[in-house]
Symmetry: C2
Subunit: 502 residues, 2 copies
């Protein structure tokens, strides 16, 4: 992609570019590495080396190891050809961090980010969302929007995204193709909705929804047979928009294809919850009670492969059921604040052992950045503390939200042990983070010439490091003021998929 | 400043620069202009012209006026030499917007942005804040930090800032000098605190505090005799850190020098409020009751020139008193969330006719951006809606928070009618805002070559305009995803004080 842009807009120096080169060299990463060791603890590796083989798998993590030592002891041990190793250095002040996992976003709603007025969920859907989603059956518009969303999220360090597309099969498949081409790990879901949505944007029947879902699954299985980069995801939009028949058939489809995840929404908004109770009295589903979670459970959709977005207002009984079924939760704080859904008590979910990740939930959420979601998760957790029933321990720390953004997200999308950290056997989904260094004169000191004459460190955005900060303080500065300018390069499965040019 | 950087770092293309050139030409601004007409209404002027004379004053605002028409009818009317007019065009999609007014921030705490852990106000002060503030008595460090803070806030479109410095006179004066040199409108306050703070960082007595405050006032009056750009501001830190004697003497000083504003904090945190009640029983101040506001009122500090930061937990009686005294409020939502202070019910203050502006409150607040404060004011207002006693009407709209960031802020800092909007007789404190335009291929279309071959529009950050958005939607996109990359140029009193180079 980058080269095509270069030739078409040769005078555009200020544009972040996404590169999707095919590379198959062994790689040696050197410098500082930061990743989550536990929910509340980051591990800092300095002067370290990480070796990533041609398949993108981490094969060595060495502390106290510079290039000479790596060449002397590690490369021979790996049996690598020392002349054919790509060396990537984090400069002074830079660090490698696992790629972010966006566990919930609607690629199709991207053009509406920031556009929601004072609406809440149900009027927001009808006023802003359904018209835009429906319009993406236009292939040119779908290509424009999906190209942009993949590039934009990659530039923010999102190495894996759980996407909702639309009900349209062709453009959903296009989104999967674009992710594959750009090298972004993705779950791509063709949205199912056969009721309570406008005539112009609704599955004609449960049967049509299932057939179209199967068609999209087949396309993605053909495009990425190992499902190692892009996977189809079974996507009932949310209970109110699905008939019981449709939910049951999607549950059966999930049982039939056990390598596929499921994603949907739950308990985002109080009016929505009331609507679910009204639409699905227990006798219609055979559910144990009239709760939202019970509807999904009764229709075969509450499984350990299920990603539940929001979970803002789950009752204790529902949380217990979610935990029992080992379903996962995508916490979407920006969205929940923006459209006045509420403040999820994440600690309560974590305490029950429920795997939680972060979602941008564009465009209920306004930002493409998982870092913004992490920042806002911290802030919202402080409002939870102050709300009735809130406790000091509801506060989420910087370390905790970074865990949610990486390891937590990996568990949510079914990639635990594959991505989210820097361990031997995991795949190299990572970002190189650079922060601004302030010199004695109050100006940014750019790292030019350091690290062997590589490209400029570039603009550092709002993160200003004065030099006396500890590493945890630097990371906190990144979480609170960082943006895509700090994400210098991004890799997925060892492949460079984004690089800032300035 | 910019040119010095250019020569020292000739290979640094990615650095935003602040320029402080002295210019005294008449200026003709052309294009789209957006500013607040009322609290909940923005005025959009397209194909308009604004004329700014050599003193920086707006002398004409013409709708439906292009350059030819301006030259034909407006310039002659103004008696301007048509050959000596600087023409500044907003390109397609760009617009001029009033400069932001940051009604509350601690310049001295800037290096600590994002560093606060899980602390709340009182432990945050002792752990993070006092040690840093005390260290700025080192002139070199003060120059480094204050240079950076002025440049950083200008780059975010902050044309006027109400700064707290430290108790140190020399470095407080340096901050004022740096603002003058950079061309940023500012209130600069030498902080007064003679009790309940550590030995290493406290005024030795009320008398010392007053003498040092007078010294700083004298310095700034000498540096800017008309106080038209930089003004001293009488700054009792907050009641708990001030003896009654000190507050009384500062009240008397304010009465003696009626051209000076006052700034302090109020009702930020519940423990702080309890501390005020404990420290200042009514008999010690002669206050009407034991409320926080009454302490300031009894000591002569609650005036129409007073800027009260936070006001999160004001009682109805206190709000009534604040309104009666015509004191102003600086709403600091980022800070209030970050250090778990609470969520201010801004609507309740506005309903009483209290003038409200926005404050970044660095470093209780984590961000240097008033736009971030505006965005977070919207989000926090939605948490207010959901809190006990909250109502739908507590929601703040995009239009309302932009009003607070401009006209509201102007009223708070005593510059109502001087800045905050585009009206004849007001001064040209403005920013040129540019948003990203997305082409059919999903790439950013940069405005190269348009508008007469001026410099590139440059990187547009996270704001992606697809083309079909209405102007209010574009502005909403800016509020939700904008950052300093969208602030292309900044003027104060007609003088260009910041320009992005890319």
């Amino acid at each position: 992609m980058g080269s095509r842009i270069d030739s078409e807009h040769p005078r555009v120096p200020a544009q972040a570019r996404t590169e999707a080169r095919t590379e198959a060299r062994n790689k040696l990463f050197l410098g500082s590495f930061v990743h989550s060791k536990a929910l509340d603890e980051l591990d800092y590796l300095h002067d370290a080396a990480v070796c990533v083989d041609k398949s993108g798998t981490i094969v060595a993590v060495e502390r106290d190891c510079d290039e000479a030592k790596a060449r002397e002891t590690v490369l021979p041990r790996l049996g690598w050809d020392a002349d054919d190793v790509e060396v990537v250095r984090a400069r002074e002040g830079q660090f490698f961090f696992p790629g972010f996992i966006d566990t919930h976003l609607h690629a199709s709603q991207y053009p509406n980010v920031g556009i929601f007025g004072k609406s809440t969920l149900l009027d927001w859907l009808n006023t802003y969302t359904f018209p835009l989603e429906a319009s993406l059956s236009n292939p040119a518009k779908a290509r424009q929007v999906y190209t942009r969303v993949v590039r934009k999220t990659l530039s923010h360090g999102t190495t894996c995204a759980a996407y909702y597309a639309t009900i349209d099969v062709a453009s959903t498949n296009l989104l999967a193709d674009l992710c594959l081409a750009a090298g972004q790990r993705a779950l791509v879901g063709r949205v199912c909705m056969d009721q309570l949505s406008p005539d112009y944007y609704r599955d004609a029947s449960a049967a049509v929804a299932i057939a179209d879902t199967r068609a999209s699954i087949a396309h993605i299985r053909a495009a990425d047979p190992s499902l190692s980069l892009v996977r189809p995801v079974i996507t009932p939009r949310f209970a109110p928009a699905c008939s019981v028949a449709l939910m049951r058939q999607l549950g059966a489809l999930a049982a039939e294809q056990p390598d596929l995840p499921i994603q949907t929404h739950i308990s985002e908004n109080k009016n929505e919850i009331a609507l679910v109770k009204e639409l699905f009295p227990p006798h219609t589903t055979g559910a144990a009670d009239d709760s939202y979670a019970a509807v999904y459970d009764a229709t075969g959709l509450l499984t350990e492969r299920t990603i539940l977005a929001h979970a803002v207002h789950l009752t204790d009984a529902e949380a217990a059921l979610v935990a029992e079924r080992k379903a996962k939760v995508s916490h979407c704080p920006c969205s929940n604040s923006a459209i006045t859904s509420g403040a999820a008590r994440v600690r309560r979910l974590l305490d029950r052992g429920i795997a939680c990740g972060l979602g941008t939930d564009m465009s209920g959420g306004y930002s493409p950045s998982v870092l913004e979601a992490a920042r806002h998760a911290v802030l919202v957790s402080r409002h939870v503390v102050l709300a009735p029933g809130g406790e000091e321990r509801d506060k989420l720390s910087v370390e905790e939200v970074l865990y949610l953004a990486t390891r937590g997200g990996a568990e949510v999308v079914g990639l635990e042990g594959t991505v989210g950290g820097f361990e031997v056997g995991m795949e190299w989904d990572a970002q190189l983070v650079g922060l601004g260094q302030i010199g004695e004169d109050g100006e940014v000191v750019v790292g030019e010439g350091r690290g062997g004459g590589e490209e400029e460190q570039g603009e550092s955005g709002d993160v200003d490091v004065f030099g006396w900060e500890s590493w945890p303080e630097r990371v906190a500065k990144w979480v609170y003021n960082g943006d895509d300018r700090n994400t210098k390069r991004v890799w997925v499965k060892g492949r460079l998929v984004h690089q800032r040019k300035f």
